[in-house]
């Protein structure tokens, strides 16, 4: 008699509490019955989906509140309640359909000649997803070792600074240039992250504080460089660097879609291999699970901290490389564009696994692409997307809440990856 594993994860999923799902009946069941049981017994993917739905509903409420016609209609709500509801429905459906059109498929494109516009939304999604996947991987790797890397913003800025400099200041032959810029950018981010790891290893300074402080330092340092003669675009008063050479730009795959997405997927495979198939990954996971036990087993914790922050910083530096060599071709003050914090939410949504991070990165890339469409097609402020994202993470991180709302069975615990991050004493 075989025992079906309920969550069917590979052995590199973050540890879930064993009793998270109560036992659903085994044996032969029809497909519809299995679906119903999945709902009733609160399987993980059902909870995730419902969390997603809850976040969208919350977003809908926010869209309605932020919509001016709905607010004016609500002033006379008791005379004409239908006005408020219809205004709200208009705003909500406009926003979400704009989101869909910007991220996945634009129905208007069916009427145009040629097939290119059909794939533009997906291409936009992928362009936005690549840096998010890389950033999410950076945070995920640090998470698995028990460290909280909030410094993706600073590390990506340093990576962007270094890659950008190689891009416009060094003039190398065609393939060599982009590779060197890539490597230098990665190293830049790695060093900035490694600094945090060094501080944690040598002095015990908690990485939450140091990473956030170094974010600001990097941000202001970039501002300084963008006013400096050797870095700023010559004959320009704007805070922008010189243009990146054509030979250093990441090759384009389709319209605006650059090969950053390939880099992101390769990085995901690399991180998967690192975490589940390599000795170093095992050490990192052991340190993350219980640092004291790992020390007793002979693993060097301090060295692990430094190593994992170097890797994490390198991945974050790749985000900056993507931004500078791929999307923008120039270094500006807003090279971060919120990617630093979005990377954290991507990692949390991805529950500590590379596969999850890729999927979460794609989802958030869709949100970003859709957010642009919201600001173009509707009057809803695009920041509503930046509220839906953390709310979604909150619902995901608290499956017990979702279970409570929908009356599902099953014991709740914290989210799998959340249990790994340590408090001040760790």
């Amino acid at each position: 008699m075989s025992v079906t594993t309920e969550h069917g994860g590979t052995d590199d999923t973050a540890p879930e509490p064993l009793d998270e799902q109560s036992s659903a009946p085994h044996g032969r069941r029809g497909f519809g019955r299995r679906l119903l049981d999945a709902y009733l017994y609160g399987q993980t993917w059902v909870v995730t989906l419902l969390a997603f739905v809850c976040a969208l509903i919350f977003g809908a409420i926010l869209i309605a509140i932020a919509d001016a016609p709905t607010r004016t209609a609500s002033h006379y709500f008791f005379q004409h309640p239908t006005d408020t509801f219809s205004a709200a429905w208009r705003a909500i459906s406009a926003a979400y359909s704009a989101l869909f059109r910007g991220a996945i498929f634009n129905t208007n494109s069916l009427y145009s000649n040629g097939g290119v516009p059909i794939f533009l939304p997906i291409s936009d999604t992928l362009v936005n997803a690549a840096p998010l996947i890389l950033g999410g991987l950076a945070v995920t790797v640090a998470f698995r070792a028990g460290l909280f890397n909030i410094g993706v913003q600073g590390q990506l800025i340093m990576g962007a600074i270094c890659a950008g400099y190689v891009g416009f200041a060094w003039h190398l032959p065609i393939v060599v240039h982009v590779l060197v810029a890539l490597i230098v950018g990665t190293v830049g981010g790695a060093l900035w992250g490694g600094l945090v790891g060094l501080l944690k290893a040598r002095t015990g300074a908690h990485e939450v504080i140091t990473t956030i402080m170094l974010n600001y330092v990097a941000y202001y340092f970039l501002g300084y460089l963008l006013g400096l003669r050797g870095y700023q675009a010559p004959h320009s008063n704007e805070a922008t660097s010189s243009f990146i050479d054509k030979s250093a730009q990441l090759p384009n795959l389709f319209e605006d879609l650059h090969s950053g997405i390939i880099l992101a997927l390769l990085a995901a495979v690399l991180v998967w291999w690192l975490l589940s198939r390599s000795t170093l990954g095992f050490t990192l996971k052991a340190v993350g699970a219980n640092a004291f036990a790992a020390r007793t087993a002979g693993m060097k914790i301090e060295r692990s901290y430094i190593t994992v922050m170097l890797i994490s910083g390198a991945l974050a530096g790749l985000v900056g490389v993507c931004q500078v060599l791929g999307t923008r071709h120039v270094v500006t003050q807003d090279v971060d564009a919120g990617l630093g914090f979005d990377a954290i939410t991507v990692a949390l949504l991805g529950r500590g696994t590379p596969v999850g991070t890729v999927l979460a990165g794609l989802l958030f890339g869709a949100f970003r692409a859709g957010g642009l469409a919201i600001s173009s097609y509707t009057t809803t402020p695009p920041d509503v997307v930046s509220v839906i994202e953390p709310v979604m993470v909150l619902f995901i991180a608290a499956p017990a809440l979702v279970r409570g709302i929908f009356r599902l069975k099953g014991r709740g615990g914290g989210s799998g990856v959340g249990q790994l991050a340590k408090g001040w004493n760790g």
Binding site: A66, V208, M213, V384, S386, L394, A398
Partner: protein, 435 residues
């Protein structure tokens, strides 16, 4: 029949045995102090221009007029640098007791700042450096840090990690500006700010205590939530109609009659708005409350060993809920200090990391109000460096980017160099599950 008990036997004496600091740690700490002293000596001392440092102590309308203080700036800085170097060498060679080490660090920090001021003020004798304005600005900048640190202490002492101080401050600042404008009443704005901070605190409490979400993760997510929410509110309400929603009125300062006339400190400490006075009261209340009242004892018990506290009958979850919400109210007040009590109008992300600096102050002060206040004052001073530098032309032009960086760099150095491994409340961050 009662036995006769000797009075002296009832008195318990104990000696405090401090854990020995390792030789390596002593050398590192001493070396950091020596390095600081050398910076003071070379940068502020030898690097100063020739001439006298001029400090203006009294302003035009002050009751007591004191003449401008002048002394050789470079020489004074060199003397200060030597003192700090000697303190550092002392630590490396002899090693101080814990209390004396803290005194040494405090003295070094003060001398570093004073030396920096001497360096800034030397050279141009016609423009003395206004100490009053500097102290005023330091206090004004430090208030959000102090309040944020108090919020963090109250929350964390009961065992809930509060990384969401930034979000509480931000939402408080937004709510304060919004309601002060909409209701045309600054008091309503302050109350609304406190409730805004409490809203984030309620979310923190529910998700951390009831749903057992990892508290550091939760704090970061709540910060992102508050940022998104305030950006949304700013774009949809404030930018479209600033007069109704973001008028930007501020609280006016209230001067205490006698104390406000003291030359430098009076203007800075006793001629301030009501939020600052509330802050003074809160500092005293939290300090006494945490260590000398029943509430404080229960809070600390719940934060150190919740199971023992539960056994004795203290309601662990209720205490934690209460403390987190009180922390949220205080952090919301910090947000009010940014808008209603500060610059007036709300800007997107107006807190820009101040909540995290407050968190660093909590850690730097080892979860006690006194240490946190000292750290908050230091961070407040570095926060004001930009204004200070534009007021007085320094001997060497410092790019404004490095001045903006200063509070954050100082925080890293403070947390890494002078704090090291900290001992948080033992149950900090661990949700309590009964049974």
């Amino acid at each position: 029949m009662t036995a006769v008990v000797d009075e002296e036997e009832l008195v318990v004496t104990h000696e405090v045995i401090e854990p020995p600091v390792s030789a390596r740690r002593r050398r590192v700490r001493g070396a950091v102090l020596v390095l600081t002293g050398l910076i003071i000596f070379f940068a502020w001392g030898l690097g100063a221009k020739n001439g006298e440092a001029a400090f203006q102590v009294s302003q035009a309308f002050d009751k007591y007029q004191i003449p401008v203080v002048r002394f050789p700036g470079g020489g004074a800085a060199m003397i200060m640098g030597s003192i700090v170097v000697l303190l550092g060498i002392g630590e490396m060679v002899i090693g101080y007791r814990r209390a004396w080490w803290r005194v040494a660090v405090g003295v070094s920090a003060v001398l570093f700042v004073v030396g920096f001021l001497c360096w800034m003020a030397t050279g141009d004798p016609t423009i003395p450096l206004g100490l009053t304005g500097m102290m005023q600005q330091t206090i004004v900048s430090a208030i959000p840090f102090i309040l944020g640190a108090l919020a963090g202490i109250v929350c964390e002492r009961s065992g809930v990690i509060n990384v969401a101080i930034e979000g509480q401050m931000l939402l408080g600042a937004f709510a304060g500006a919004l309601f002060a404008s909409a209701a045309s009443n600054l008091g309503a704005g302050v109350i609304a700010a406190m409730l805004g901070g409490a809203l984030i605190a309620v979310l923190l409490a529910v998700f951390a205590i009831r749903y057992l979400v990892n508290q550091v993760v939760l704090g970061v997510v709540l910060n992102a939530f508050a940022l998104g929410l305030t950006n949304l509110g700013y774009q949809s309400l404030m930018q479209s109609d600033p007069n109704s929603y973001n008028a930007g009125n501020t609280l006016s300062p209230i001067k205490i009659p006698l104390l406000g006339d003291i030359p430098v400190l009076g203007q800075a400490f006793f001629d301030v708005n009501i939020i600052t006075y509330i802050t003074y009261a809160l500092v005293v209340v939290v300090d006494i409350g945490l260590f000398r009242t029943r509430w404080g004892l229960r809070t600390r018990a719940v934060g150190e060993h919740p199971r023992a506290a539960d056994t004795v009958g203290i309601k662990v979850r209720g205490t934690r809920y209460r403390n987190v919400i009180i922390g949220g109210l205080i952090a919301g007040l910090a947000g009010a200090a940014l808008t209603v009590g500060g610059s007036g109008a709300f800007n997107a992300n107006i807190s820009s990391g101040k909540g995290f600096i407050a968190l660093a102050a909590v850690i730097f002060g080892r979860w006690s109000p006194r240490g946190a206040i000292a750290a908050a004052l230091l961070f407040g001073f570095t926060d004001e460096l930009q204004t200070l530098v534009t007021a007085v032309t320094p001997p060497v032009t410092i790019p404004s980017a490095f001045l903006s960086m200063a509070p954050y760099v100082v925080t890293v150095i403070a947390v890494a160099g002078f704090v090291g491994r900290v001992q948080a409340p033992a149950a900090d961050g661990e949700p309590y599950v009964k049974g």
